[in-house]
């Protein structure tokens, strides 16, 4: 508290001392043990294996543990449910020794059978635990689709030892296993709850799922038996969905929430001026892009795609909508990731050139007809306001004779629709890396294996596919790096996307919130968070 000289008068401490509002009657700040987090969208499902969106995984991350995990604030692999592991020389057999004494939230034991159960559920297309409408997209995209599975089988050697046998070596195998989506679920709970498991998840993580009020809040409570000593520090975490960025920011200023994601770039000045708040930067690890639906004419033509690439003013967008907290994107992966090809020159913003290229492609008067341009209805770390950016781009496209209509169905529908690829001609989306391997960008998003799935443009390039598969099998990181650079060149020329930006997502929190270490992947444990 205390007075200050900032712009908004004496109200430096929006949350507490100045007004006798809600927060004032909360128990004194020092003993606060509930974290209220505000974010832009609700989760789609709380079964991490069937979703790919960050808002779902954020919660899944708190409830489930994977065999491995990333060190706080990085993408380095650390032991988690697996204490140690051995890799066979051919890279085809991994033997994990599991942590003992760990229990699921429902009281059942975590053991090798549970691991086997989970992996079988994901890999067996006929598993009785694959429920109506579900698909294990992440599994398919990280470990190959049915028919081209990387993992041959998973067996329990004893109660605490699991053996993975691979069909082929996979370089980022451990990296992949550490992903949130491969959190181990309680088999008993899945068997009991069936379809409803995705609404009432049960894992071994630091927080126990308590309640989900759709589109309002998810309540998590401390797991008293958590295997990490002394954690979690919080008693309770409430994650609220407040779609409007500024409403969320208001709530933070007003003390109604403690931590918010995705600060509106336009609100940065307010945030920095407010001494009762702190600004938190997430290490940049994402890319936002516009994808072409290459199934549809005329976007099956690379010339058209390249032409449109010239029609986007990335720097203008960054200045306008990102408050400078972003860089123009060139490649489908962020420059902070190894293997980034910095030789590639971006397409410049040049409407005349764009027109010229369209004309070359056989469209001297612009593209015929009107196209549906899906713009994200929610705020994402890589894209605070998709609809507005889309509107700006819409105007530029119009100048070169490309008429697009913006549509923004609700988020889950949006993801479904773009995955189906029937309604949209262009779509805006982005990706935050979740395991620190280029594979997780390029293969996941642009390989033909990721159809249907994350390759929402239905972009198929055999050449690229071969390179990516080779890179997966290659163990030597330098060689892999070269392969990925080669892949980026192909992609640049083929232009299945218009890469937009790499952003540094901004979070804001109350000044007295400590121990929050943002992870580049966008998901972090709240277990070490506490209030001063």
């Amino acid at each position: 508290g205390g007075s200050s000289n900032n712009a908004s008068g004496g109200s430096d401490n929006a949350g507490a001392s100045d007004q006798p509002s809600s927060s004032a009657s909360a128990p004194s700040e020092s003993t606060q043990d509930t974290l209220i987090l505000g974010r832009g969208g609700d989760s789609v499902s709380l079964d991490g294996s069937i979703v790919t969106d960050g808002e779902s995984l954020k919660i899944v991350h708190q409830v489930f543990d994977s065999l491995l995990e990333y060190k706080e604030g990085t993408t380095e692999v650390e032991p988690a449910l697996a204490e140690k592991w051995e890799i066979s020389a051919d890279g085809l057999t991994y033997t994990f020794t599991l942590r003992q004494g760990v229990k699921f939230h429902d009281g059942t034991d975590f053991n090798a059978d549970a691991v086997v159960f989970n992996f079988n559920r994901w890999s067996d297309p006929n598993s009785e635990y694959k429920f109506e409408g579900d698909s294990f997209d992440y599994y398919d995209s990280m470990f190959g689709p049915d028919g081209a599975r990387v993992i041959k089988n998973v067996t329990a050697k004893d109660d605490h030892t699991v053996v993975f046998t691979l069909n082929q070596p996979q370089a980022p195998f451990l990296q992949n296993l550490a992903m949130t989506c491969f959190g181990i679920a309680s088999p008993a709970a899945i068997k009991e709850k069936k379809e409803n498991f995705k609404n009432e998840p049960v894992g071994t993580g630091p927080f126990v799922f308590k309640e989900w009020k759709r589109n309002d809040s998810i309540t998590l409570e401390k797991n008293p038996n958590y295997w990490k000593e002394g954690l979690p520090k919080l008693n309770k975490v409430i994650v609220r969905s407040i779609p409007d960025n500024s409403a969320r920011f208001n709530a933070l200023q007003n003390g109604e929430i403690d931590l918010m994601e995705d600060v509106n770039p336009d609100d940065l000045t307010l945030l920095e001026a407010n001494t009762s708040l702190q600004k938190i930067e997430r290490p940049p690890f994402n890319v936002a892009y516009i994808g072409f639906n290459t199934k549809k004419k005329p976007f099956d033509d690379p010339k058209v795609r390249v032409a449109l690439n010239y029609a986007v003013n990335k720097q203008g967008l960054i200045d306008a909508f990102f408050a400078g907290q972003a860089k123009p994107a060139v490649n489908p992966m962020p420059p902070t990731l190894w293997g980034y090809n910095d030789q590639i020159q971006d397409y410049t913003y040049d409407l005349d050139k764009a027109k010229q290229l369209l004309s070359d492609a056989g469209y001297p008067d612009g593209l015929p007809g009107e196209y549906t341009f899906y713009a994200m209805p929610v705020s994402r770390p890589y894209m605070p306001d998709g609809k507005k950016v889309a509107e700006a781009i819409q105007a530029d496209f119009a100048k070169i004779g490309v008429k697009v209509n913006i549509e923004s169905p609700e988020w889950a529908t949006y993801l479904d629709d773009t995955k189906a690829g029937e309604k949209d001609d262009l779509y805006m989306l982005g990706w935050t890396g979740d395991n620190g391997d280029p594979d997780n960008f390029i293969y996941t998003l642009l390989d033909k294996d990721a159809i249907p799935g994350n390759n929402r443009g239905f972009y198929v390039n055999e050449n690229l596919h071969n390179i990516l598969v080779e890179a997966q099998k290659e163990i030597d990181q330098n060689k892999r790096s070269d392969l990925y650079k080669q892949a980026q060149t192909i992609i640049h020329d083929d232009a299945p996307w218009i890469p937009l930006v790499y952003t540094t997502p901004i979070l804001a929190a109350k000044a007295n919130l400590k121990g929050f270490i943002p992870n580049p992947t966008g998901t972090e444990y709240y277990s070490s968070v506490y209030f001063e």
């Binding site: 109200s11 929006a14 100045d18 007004q19 509002s21 809600s22 927060s23 009657s25 909360a26 128990p27 606060q32 509930t34 209220i36 109506e132 409408g133 379809e195 409803n196 609404n199 009020k213 759709r214 589109n215 309002d216 809040s217 409430i238 609220r240 407040i242 409403a247 208001n250 709530a251 200023q253 007003n254 109604e256 209805p377 169905p409 609700e410 889950a412 529908t413 479904d416 629709d417 995955k419 189906a420 690829g421 029937e422 309604k423 249907p452």
Partner: protein, 334 residues
């Protein structure tokens, strides 16, 4: 009286049938294949078929309708496509939230509206009358979503007087028994929490209640003026009754009848306006539930949500009708 009640209810039957028919048709009015619209194109034929079966789309139209009504009568309100949870179960907390909000808004509208109307009529052509009626006119012209935003801006963001969103400080949650937080807090005797709940209610109720308040104030005023001109008021005055008795006993009771109609109708504006208010104030009510269902194309939820709100509306108007008859004994004879 009882036969009057029965008659009123009887008259409602065709309306209820029509309502279910309209709501039932929602899913049929979707252009193209509803199953595909809901599930998306990539859905397997198998899952589409399953959904059609769940929704009963595979049967003849009339049979579908009877099944639908049959389910409703059994209390089965369908299942959400998105969450697979029975809607009857899922909707309850939202319903409570909406009822609390609309009730508070109506209370606010009634208390201020009726009193302003009486005063205006009493002091006809005074500055108070002019000011109140101008304000009321502005009130009925106010887009409530804008009013809500402005309130939020002024009272939460600028002045920090009141919370901007939600029903309750989540750090300090309330054990819910009835789902109506005010009631819960009172039952449990948690007075400081009651205060927090009330503070959360103020802004959205004002936003939602402004239009009904303005309408009620105008109606009360004109109805009072009308009644004050009537012969029986002259009779009452000729008996030498004091003015306050004339106004509050003889006039108000008569003037209240048209006001009551308006109150009934305005609950419709409240229930409809809840969608907007709840969106702005992140109020976890049926309006928002419904709004979300629309964006998710969760048609069973849309159908049921609309049906429930319309049903509440119909019931409230039935109550209003019965209240009439209680106030005015002539009505049953008409």
């Amino acid at each position: 009286m009882n036969s009057y009640v029965l008659k009123r209810i009887f008259v409602l039957i065709p309306v209820l049938v029509g309502m279910t028919l309209i709501v039932f048709s929602i899913i049929h009015a979707i252009p193209g294949d509803p199953a595909e619209t809901i599930l998306g194109q990539k859905a397997t034929e198998q899952s589409k078929e399953a959904l059609r079966e769940q929704l009963g789309l595979d049967k003849p139209w009339l049979q579908q309708y009877f099944m639908y009504v049959g389910d409703l009568l059994k209390g089965d309100l369908g299942e959400s496509i998105r969450t697979k949870v029975p809607i009857a179960k899922e909707i309850t907390p939202y319903l409570a939230a909406t009822l609390e909000l609309t009730f508070t808004a109506m209370l606010f509208a009634l208390i201020i509206g009726i009193n302003a109307g009486i005063l205006s009529a009493w002091k006809q052509n005074s500055w108070f009358d002019y000011a109140a009626m101008l304000l009321a006119l502005i009130g009925i012209s106010m887009p409530i979503f804008w009013l809500g935003l402005m309130e939020q801006w002024l009272f939460s963001i600028k002045l920090h007087w009141l919370p901007s969103i939600g029903r309750m400080d989540q750090r300090n949650p309330l054990e819910t028994q009835t789902g109506l937080y005010v009631l819960d807090a009172i039952i449990q005797g948690k007075w400081d929490q009651l205060w927090i709940v009330i503070k959360h209610l103020i802004l959205p109720s004002i936003a939602l209640g402004t239009i009904p308040m303005a309408v009620i104030a105008r109606m009360t005023r004109s109805s009072m003026l009308e009644v004050m001109k009537s012969d029986y008021i002259r009779t009452a005055r000729s008996k030498g009754l004091p003015q306050f008795l004339v106004v509050y006993k003889h006039a108000l009771k008569n003037a209240f009848i048209p006001v009551l109609t308006v109150v009934g109708l305005q609950t419709g504006s409240l229930l409809g306006g809840a969608v907007l208010t709840e969106t702005i104030f992140a109020w976890p009510g049926v309006g928002r539930y419904l709004y979300d269902a629309i964006s998710y194309r969760d048609y069973p939820v849309i159908q049921t949500g609309i049906l429930i709100i319309a049903f509440i509306f119909v019931v409230i108007n039935l109550i209003v009708d019965l209240l009439y008859a209680a106030i005015d004994r002539r009505i049953k004879y008409r």
